[in-house]
């Protein structure tokens, strides 16, 4: 018979225990009655008492029968629970700390790892996403570029490469103006071939994807849109299919909606057939590495190194045929996952590591608490054991307690994890891909809960087994003598406290390194003065200001109009303002210099008005900035940033050097045409992406020389937001169509200081999370130390009493206690510092101007933890000094 069957029988009996007990009574009475009748017929004596005598002790037999029936099986558990509730009520602090510690460990770890798992594993909604790769070219001197369309086509057509890939697809990215009714906005559009959607392995939620027919040059223009655009602009309207929208003034029919998160490239809000490309030269010019991606799906079982080798045979052929464009470049590939989620990975891994440390710390703390509790109870257990309680019974009781604590902690931890995940779901989608699908990861929850519960059970069971050993009489005798306690347990507890302090140091140092990085990044001079600087994205209405001269005149009028607004100091025009997301690279040639690679886009291209320098507060490093005359001059005058000047002329001045850049506005017919000119000045670097990203080489061109079809109006104001209504009116005075209504419209004002600050948001977020972990770690470590020291004092009551009676001062007693705890703290700190130093290498990518051994982080951490070690032992130490020696020595 299996244990389960037996248990089932017991449960069945127990559920009908009232009937059952009565049944046993009835049955025994029936037996006695029958026996009595038999006796009576046999002889005349007192038949009843004879039957009783024959039967024996009725009560005893009833109890035996109850026991055999399993009726008392659950009595024990009911008693245990009653006992437990009583004892927990007596020490609510213990119960609360144990439960909260477990909850914290389980909750924090589960929430954090759920997010990490979601982002790293589940965030790509593509079939067999592991086989998706981005195809690139790597320069001999380092650096990557996306291949030009003809190169991608050569790869596609090569029979060798075809063996390695199911498909290869070239995607051209383009910024377009989407108009729906009155509302206009600028969106990213991917121009793709028919192989693109099958390659990704994502099916539309509505309608269909682009097919071969859509690719015919005479086919009507159609678009597939992203889930996000569908929700945002069309409110998830199910009748969206067949609807006409306008993309760059071309009417386009919506034919499909992709599922949530199925977006590639990341900037795309819609896809059109590549035959709709308005800029044909992009598809044919070999030297053009415009905004594009080439992706591939590896054949099942083909490893990436073999695929790269096959692509390289094509590359070397291309290098021979087109030395100008292809020499010194070779094929390379990256997992698509890295491109899509690359920059959040180190942060997520750091957070997952922090969560894991916290879980270990929580387990150590629970172990410590339970060991202390059993140790404190060892006498009670020994007494009960001596009075006849069976060992199994005592152990079971201890186990019940651990189990109840573990279950309470586990439940609370699960709730905590669910709440934290719920909170994380409120993050904007650009911070966490597919955030709305984020859910508590049940495997992680299981592992975290199992780890904590197992710790609780082992730490409850093991000392209970020891304390109830047959030799536990020693405990009783030891108690009478004043007790030295169970040595190995207290050694274990000291070890645990040391581990706790080491882990706390690691978390604190990790958090400290990130805090220093954040502070140093926030203190970086970005090269311009963001205060009161307001930006406005400009996009002329379709069909208006098409000619460069018309657009340039518009920008000039807008600058003048903005300047006339009260509270405005100055105004300027730039094609792409830094910290704004979009930017355009172009290629540069330097006369007489063959060592400069001209085949890739290596320099950021800015077309600006002459007022730009003073409006944004940039500073000049050498030469001069554009003057009015430069704007009207037909010849090229250029200004470089310091990074560009240093890169090209490391040992001499850049001023006066002749260079050629290539026009980079893809909307213009003269796209890619050379613009020869001379360097007239060098400005100090302005950060373009974020405070903690090194500025890239940059070239400034007068906006009259290459007039961007759209751009950004930059306005220096005294009052910031206060000037915006008047500014809007002034713009509308020039052309009302520029400030159309609608929150998603083109006329969106931005504040540069906010834009710059937002670049450190991810750092801030991870910092606050790790800060919270570190705070929990400190509390747990302090609780652990306090518990050990306080218990030590209780155990040494007699010894301390004797010392005091022999003349030890309060100071001596206190220092005795505190010294011991500082030794534990000290060892923990040393171990922790070594661990942190080793672990900080793992978060190297997240550090900014901070080394893993930054003393400004370690020193305060060490001081702080020593202080906490002192405080945690101070309270028990004070109690020790207040011992009354007579009471202490009299003992029990």
């Amino acid at each position: 018979m299996s244990f389960i069957d037996g248990l089932r029988h017991r449960v069945r009996v127990w559920r009908r225990r009232g009937d059952y007990e009565r049944g046993i009574d009835d049955e025994l009475r029936f037996h006695l009655d029958l026996d009595e009748e038999q006796r009576r017929s046999a002889y005349n004596g007192d038949a009843r008492s004879d039957a009783r005598r024959r039967f024996g002790n009725v009560t005893y037999h009833r109890e035996e029968t109850r026991h055999a029936a399993g009726l008392d099986y659950f009595d024990g558990i009911t008693n245990d629970v009653r006992h437990l509730v009583r004892s927990l009520r007596r020490s609510p602090g213990f119960a609360a700390v144990a439960v909260l510690t477990l909850a914290l460990g389980i909750g924090a770890t589960t929430a954090m790892l759920s997010v990490v798992d979601h982002v790293l594993i589940h965030s790509l909604p593509f079939r067999d996403a592991d086989r998706l790769v981005m195809l690139l070219e790597r320069g001999d001197k380092g650096g990557f570029r996306t291949p030009s369309a003809p190169t991608a086509e050569d790869w596609r057509r090569d029979p060798g490469v075809a063996k390695a890939f199911d498909a290869v697809s070239f995607i051209r990215g383009e910024g377009m103006t989407l108009r729906v009714g009155d509302d206009a906005e600028s969106i990213g559009v991917g121009l793709v071939g028919p192989e693109f959607f099958p390659l990704l392995g994502a099916r539309p939620v509505l309608g269909r994807v682009l097919n071969d027919d859509d690719q015919r040059p005479d086919a009507p223009p159609v678009a597939v849109i992203t889930y996000n655009l569908w929700q945002r602009r069309f409110g998830g309207d199910p009748s969206i299919l067949g609807r006409r929208i306008s993309l760059d003034s071309v009417p386009v029919t919506v034919i499909g909606v992709m599922p949530n998160g199925a977006v590639y490239p990341g900037f795309a809000s819609a896809w059109e057939a590549s035959s709709q490309n308005r800029h044909k030269e992009v598809m044919t010019k070999r030297g053009l590495h415009a905004d594009s991606r080439t992706i591939g799906r590896l054949r099942a079982g083909v490893d990436s190194s073999r695929a790269v080798a096959l692509m390289r045979t094509v590359e070397s052929r291309l290098a021979d045929s087109y030395p100008a464009e292809q020499a010194h470049w070779n094929a390379a590939m990256l997992p698509l996952r890295d491109e899509i989620i690359g920059n959040v990975k180190p942060m997520l891994l750091a957070l997952a590591g922090a969560a894991a440390l916290l879980l270990i710390l929580a387990c150590a703390n629970v172990a410590n608490l339970l060991l202390a509790r059993v140790a404190a109870r060892s006498r009670e257990l020994a007494v009960r054991s001596a009075l006849g309680a069976s060992r199994g019974r005592l152990v079971r009781q201890q186990l019940t307690e651990s189990l109840v604590l573990a279950l309470a902690g586990g439940t609370l931890g699960t709730l905590l994890a669910a709440a934290a995940v719920q909170l994380a779901r409120k993050l904007p989608a650009e911070k966490l891909p597919r955030v709305e699908e984020l859910a508590v990861d049940h495997r992680v929850l299981f592992v975290a809960a199992a780890a904590s519960v197992l710790t609780a059970l082992v730490c409850g069971l093991w000392p209970a087994l020891r304390a109830t050993r047959p030799t536990s009489g020693e405990v009783l005798r030891a108690g009478a003598l004043g007790s030295i306690g169970v040595r190995s347990e207290s050694r274990l507890r000291r070890g645990l406290v040391t581990v706790q302090f080491a882990l706390a140091v690691m978390l604190l140092v990790g958090g400290g390194l990130l805090l220093q990085s954040f502070r140093r990044a926030a203190a970086v001079d970005v090269g311009l003065n963001p205060r009161g600087l307001v930006t406005l994205r400009l996009a002329p209405p379709p069909g208006a200001y098409v000619k460069p001269s018309e657009a340039a005149a518009l920008y000039a009028r807008l600058i003048d109009a903005a300047r006339a607004v009260p509270g405005v100091v100055d105004a300027a025009f730039i094609n792409h303002f830094p910290f704004g997301g979009a930017s355009i690279y172009t290629s540069i040639q330097i006369d007489g210099r063959l060592d400069i690679d001209t085949s890739s886009n290596q320099i950021l291209y800015r077309t600006v008005s002459d007022s730009y320098l003073r409006t944004v507060g940039m500073t000049l490093a050498a030469g001069r900035w554009f003057g009015d005359a430069d704007l009207r001059s037909p010849g090229g005058q250029f200004v470089l940033n310091a990074s560009a000047a240093r890169l090209y002329w490391p040992h001499e001045s850049a001023i006066g050097k002749r260079i050629t850049v290539h026009r980079a506005s893809q909307a213009r017919a003269d796209f890619g045409q050379p613009l020869p000119g001379v360097v007239i000045g060098v400005v100090n670097d302005v950060h373009q992406v974020a405070q903690d990203v090194v500025p890239a080489p940059e070239i400034y061109v007068p906006y009259t020389l290459e007039t961007w079809p759209w751009g950004t109006l930059v306005v220096r104001t005294r009052g910031g937001a206060h000037s915006i209504p008047a500014l809007r009116d002034a713009i509308a005075g020039v052309d009302a169509r520029l400030v159309e209504k609608g929150s998603s419209g083109l006329a969106k004002f931005g504040f540069v200081d906010a834009a710059i600050a937002s670049r450190l948001e991810p750092r801030k977020l991870s910092l606050s999370l790790i800060g919270a972990f570190a705070a929990c770690a400190i509390v747990l470590a302090a609780v652990g130390l306090y518990g050990v020291v306080a218990y030590g004092v209780t155990q040494r009551t007699r010894e301390l009493g004797v010392r005091k009676a022999l003349g030890a001062t309060e100071r001596m007693i206190a220092s005795l206690v505190i010294r011991e705890s500082l030794v534990l703290t000290g060892i923990g700190i040393v171990v922790g510092c070594l661990g942190a130093w080793a672990g900080a290498r793992l978060i190297h990518d997240l550090l900014f101007q901070t080394t893993p051994a930054d003393l400004t982080v370690y020193a305060p951490t060490i001081v702080m933890l020593l202080g906490i070690g002192f405080l945690a032992s101070y309270i028990p130490a004070r109690r020790a000094t207040r011992l009354d020696p007579t009471i202490a020595m009299r003992g029990e």
Binding site: E27, F55, A68
Partner: protein, 113 residues
């Protein structure tokens, strides 16, 4: 949890279960009748210690070898009737085999076989 002491005095230890199971192969009986039956057939040599009978019946039920039901005696009293189950019969077979082997071994030792 301590196990109940099995019939110490008048029965060979461990044989009570076997006797109960065997008795019940005759049909459903209440506790008193089981005890009576065992005593009668053994010419009162085997005395079932009353107090161990009922714990044994509970134990056998718990193991799934017996089931019980409340019913009426011919004299109209309420009594609990025990019935042997299929697995009880199987168990009985095993116990008899064991018992025979032990008896044979004892007889051999006593040089009676």
């Amino acid at each position: 949890m301590t196990m109940p002491k099995s019939s110490r005095a008048d029965l060979v230890p461990g044989t009570l279960d076997m006797l109960i199971l065997y008795t019940l192969t005759l049909g459903a009986l209440h506790g008193y009748a089981i005890a009576q039956h065992i005593e009668k057939l053994s010419d009162s040599v085997l005395q079932v210690e009353q107090g161990s009978l009922y714990p044994a019946l509970e134990r056998l039920q718990r193991k799934g070898w017996l089931t019980s039901k409340w019913g009426q005696t011919p004299t109209g009293r309420r009594a609990r009737y025990y019935t042997i189950t299929a697995s009880g019969r199987k168990q009985l077979g095993e116990e008899i085999t064991d018992f025979d082997r032990v008896m044979l071994a004892i007889n051999r030792v006593m040089k009676r076989a």
